[in-house]
């Protein structure tokens, strides 16, 4: 039994914390809300460009094997880095990049793309493609509006080079603006198939989406007879990328919970009312303890997901979905608690609490939404019960 960070993992996390501490990410996050939507490269002018820092640290290649220039690490390592990004609301396009590299790493046909993606010279974005469940038989993507799931883009008859023309779209794609390659699942001749699309190809439109949380880069991707390359990644790999994205956003969310809790606890110790620190009142203390409870539950599930991806792949959908569900709820609770512990000041523009609140509210609705991951937990457990 060993469910603890290795020395290397502790180092990875500390190095990430140190690297990100050089930037005033929170001030930038607030300023960017007032600045018009960004320039090229997907970056708002107010936000620091953290991609060079990511490149220097080797984060773009975390999940790419060493033979192709990556670090050859596993999901848990990537989750540690995402957690550090979440702590300071750093806008680094890893949530989109890393699941895309996981699919490409399982597709030998496009192995030549990997070194540039590993070094960060080029950037990929994952097109969120939700695998079927026990109640939804079809693959689907996130809709641009409303509750109904959207169908995946379609195409037919790949040519001799494995090229296919795709039509359709993916909404709210994390880190799509400025990405060079878009990687996801499409229906080719009716069959779910991994595809990579070059963002500058004819018929590809990536429209940046105005965001409630300015540090979250999102784009709506529209394909009109756009050229795509069919990948030879197996369907399990395509499904695993969805769950990897769930695990990563869970890790990122829990990083944000850590900060929200730390800041709230510090304030509860120094703010006095009726002659004593507000943290001594049970109502306040229990609210903060509840945040800690949800945080600890989320951390335990990150270990589960981190272990399961390689150690028990059949459980990875359950583990990653449970982590996403708990982490997402934890961040909602933490952000609301942060605001209420601070009183009125916590709801003002100058305070950091609204930034974490905005992050919480938007994150909950991305990548299928928190509710879908909760539903997936039920579905996976029902399937386990049927098999038992």
């Amino acid at each position: 039994m060993n469910l603890a960070l290795s020395d290397e993992q502790v180092f990875l996390r500390e190095a990430a914390r140190g690297a990100l501490s050089r930037f005033k990410t929170l001030e930038a996050a607030r300023e960017a809300l007032d600045t018009p939507q960004g320039g090229t490269g997907g970056n708002d002018s107010a936000l620091p460009d953290l991609w060079p820092t990511a490149k220097e640290a080797g984060w773009p290649g975390l999940l790419i094997d060493e033979a192709h220039g990556g670090a050859g690490l596993d999901a848990f390592d990537a989750m540690l880095v995402l957690g550090e990004c979440g702590r300071v609301l750093a806008g680094i396009p890893l949530l989109g990049h890393l699941p895309a590299t996981a699919i490409l790493g399982d597709a030998p046909r496009v192995a030549e793309y990997l070194p540039d993606l590993a070094s960060g010279e080029r950037r990929a974005a994952y097109l969120p493609s939700q695998p079927p469940s026990d109640v939804h038989a079809e693959w689907s993507s996130d809709p641009a509006q409303g509750m109904a799931r959207a169908p995946l883009p379609t195409g037919s008859g790949p040519d001799a080079n494995g090229e296919v023309k795709l039509t359709g779209g993916y909404a709210f794609v994390p880190d799509a603006p400025g990405a060079n390659a878009l990687v996801g699942v499409a229906l080719v001749d009716g069959k779910p198939t991994g595809v990579v699309i070059m963002a500058d190809a004819t018929g590809v439109e990536v429209e940046p989406v105005r965001r409630y949380d300015a540090t979250r880069s999102l784009g709506n991707v529209t394909l009109k007879d756009a050229a795509a390359t069919v990948l030879d990644a197996p369907e399990e790999s395509l499904a695993a990328a969805w769950y990897l994205a769930q695990a990563l956003i869970a890790a990122e969310s829990l990083g944000s919970v850590e900060t929200a809790l730390d800041v709230s606890v510090a304030y509860a110790k120094e703010r006095f009312t009726f002659g004593r620190a507000i943290g001594s009142y049970q109502a306040v203390k229990h609210g903060l303890t509840e945040v800690l409870r949800q945080l600890e539950n989320g951390r335990s599930l990150l270990y589960y997901a981190g272990w399961a991806r390689a150690g028990a792949p059949a459980e990875f959908p359950l583990a990653a979905s449970a982590a996403r569900s708990v982490a997402s709820n934890a961040l909602d609770t933490a952000a609301r608690t942060m605001i209420s512990v601070h009183g009125g000041i916590g709801a003002t523009w100058e305070h950091d609490a609204p930034l974490y609140f905005r992050r919480a509210q938007l994150s909950r609705r991305l990548l299928g939404g928190t509710g879908a991951s909760t539903d997936r937990v039920a579905g996976e457990l029902i399937a386990q019960a049927d098999a038992a």
């Binding site: 039994m1 060993n2 469910l3 603890a4 290795s6 848990f76 026990d134 109640v135 809790l261 606890v265 509860a268 110790k269 004593r276 620190a277 943290g279 001594s280 009142y281 049970q282 306040v284 203390k285 229990h286 903060l288 303890t289 509840e290 800690l292 409870r293 600890e296 539950n297 989320g298 951390r299 335990s300 599930l301 270990y303 589960y304 981190g306 272990w307 150690g311 359950l318 583990a319 979905s321 449970a322 569900s325 708990v326 709820n329 509710g371 991951s373 909760t374 539903d375 997936r376 937990v377 039920a378 579905g379 457990l381 029902i382 386990q384 019960a385 049927d386 038992a388």
Partner: protein
């Protein structure tokens, strides 16, 4: 990161499994077809089985060898528990004695007490009970009023009442926290005693709960005589001695949470069995939320094991897992009753007992409120609530509360 045994742990697991393979036919059947029905016979059979487990080295795994234990660590204890569960045989009957009270005697008892009490405790020949809580001393345990008065010859006279006492109805001994000096602040005036449960003046009365069953007891002490050697850990040191017991309780809870049967697999099975419920979005959402938290607790347990393996003792944060388990099981029971309907509340339903048991479990081992206070103060470092009892002699406190000391 892995969930695997080390080679040493695997060897220990194999040794335990092989003992169980050879001896499990000797274990009493206490559930299902062919189960013993008479309550007294069950207790007798389980005591005998505990004796066999002790002889095989499967009881008191973490106890020092000189007191009949195996001198192993908490990980081996967990492996042993897992293998006992896997063999589908009952574990030790006196889990409180072996897990908490015996270790307290090992830590604080005199050599005479250790040689007299430990071996029969471990073998199930003498069952023990924990006499700490009182009607007016639960979360505020240092408020115990049960009074021990020393006589001129050095012996003691004990009067008062304890409550929530598991196994008192068949226990031979109890470890009791009593007030010995009411004229000092409350944490300072307590002493721990060994009390023979068959002494004159000890009355045990079953305490029925919501489920209709009496799992706990009230115990009354009416001028019970105790000899001078009954003190454990020294006069006036009862609070410190009691904290040792509670620390062992935390370790026991930290290691045993999965064993309570409140797990996601079991609850999901109940929903999966209903063709409509399993496709109902609201049911699925409720199941998903509860199951995610209970899955988290399973891995929190593994994190605790990892820490124990490194020689760390679980801190107060393990109380949070208890909060999650109880809240999760309450929600799961509510969901299952919604799906199954009133039949879930029938006496022979596997859910009725759980549903009735959980509201009380919320307060067991420290109420949820006191657990959250402890975690908030000891883990998050939040300031304590102002206290009105600090430094005040217990007798004055009692008169402030309008009751005789």
């Amino acid at each position: 990161m892995d969930l695997d045994d080390t080679p040493e742990q695997a060897a220990y697991r194999a040794q335990v499994r092989s003992w169980l393979d050879q001896h499990k036919h000797e274990a009493p059947v206490i559930k299902g077809p062919g189960a013993i029905e008479d309550e007294h016979e069950i207790i007798a059979a389980r005591r005998a089985w505990q004796g066999k487990l002790a002889e095989g080295g499967l009881a008191g795994v973490t106890w020092p060898k000189e007191y009949g234990g195996q001198g192993l660590g908490p990980i081996e204890q967990v492996i042993c528990n897992q293998e006992i569960g896997r063999a589908k045989v009952p574990g030790i009957l006196d889990a409180i004695g072996v897990g908490m009270l015996g270790p307290t005697i090992i830590a604080h008892g005199s050599e005479e007490q250790r040689s007299r009490y430990l071996a029969p405790l471990l073998h199930g020949d003498e069952v023990w009970c924990q006499l700490f809580s009182e009607p007016a001393a639960g979360s505020d345990l240092a408020a115990v009023q049960t009074r021990a008065r020393q006589q001129d010859d050095g012996s003691w006279r004990l009067s008062g009442q304890k409550v929530w006492t598991t196994n008192a109805q068949f226990a031979s001994y109890g470890l009791l926290l009593a007030r010995t000096d009411p004229d000092v602040p409350k944490h300072k005036g307590m002493t721990m005693f060994v009390v023979p449960m068959d002494a004159d003046g000890v009355t045990v009365r079953g305490l029925r709960q919501i489920s209709g069953e009496a799992e706990f007891n009230e115990v009354f002490f009416d001028d019970v005589a105790l000899d001078e050697g009954a003190v454990v850990g020294g006069l006036g040191n009862g609070w410190g001695t009691g904290l040792t017991t509670l620390m062992f309780e935390r370790v026991t809870i930290g290691l045993g949470s999965e064993g309570m049967g409140y797990n996601s697999t079991r609850f999901a099975g109940a929903i999966a069995a209903d063709a409509d419920a399993r496709r109902d979005p609201e049911v699925r959402h409720r199941l998903g939320e509860v199951a995610s938290e209970l899955l988290a607790v399973r891995f929190t347990g593994y994190r605790t094991l990892t820490a124990l393996q490194k020689g760390q003792i679980p801190g107060p944060e393990s109380g949070l897992a208890k909060v999650t388990i109880v809240a999760g099981a309450i929600k799961a029971g509510d969901l299952i009753a919604d799906v199954v309907g009133p039949d879930a509340l029938d006496e022979d339903s596997e859910w009725a007992y759980m549903i009735s048991f959980l509201p009380g479990l919320k307060s067991a081992g420290g109420t949820e409120e006191i657990l959250k206070n402890t975690v908030g103060e000891r883990v998050l470092g939040l300031p304590p609530e102002p206290r009105l009892d600090k430094g005040i002699p217990f007798s004055e406190l009692r008169s402030k509360e309008g009751a005789p000391a």
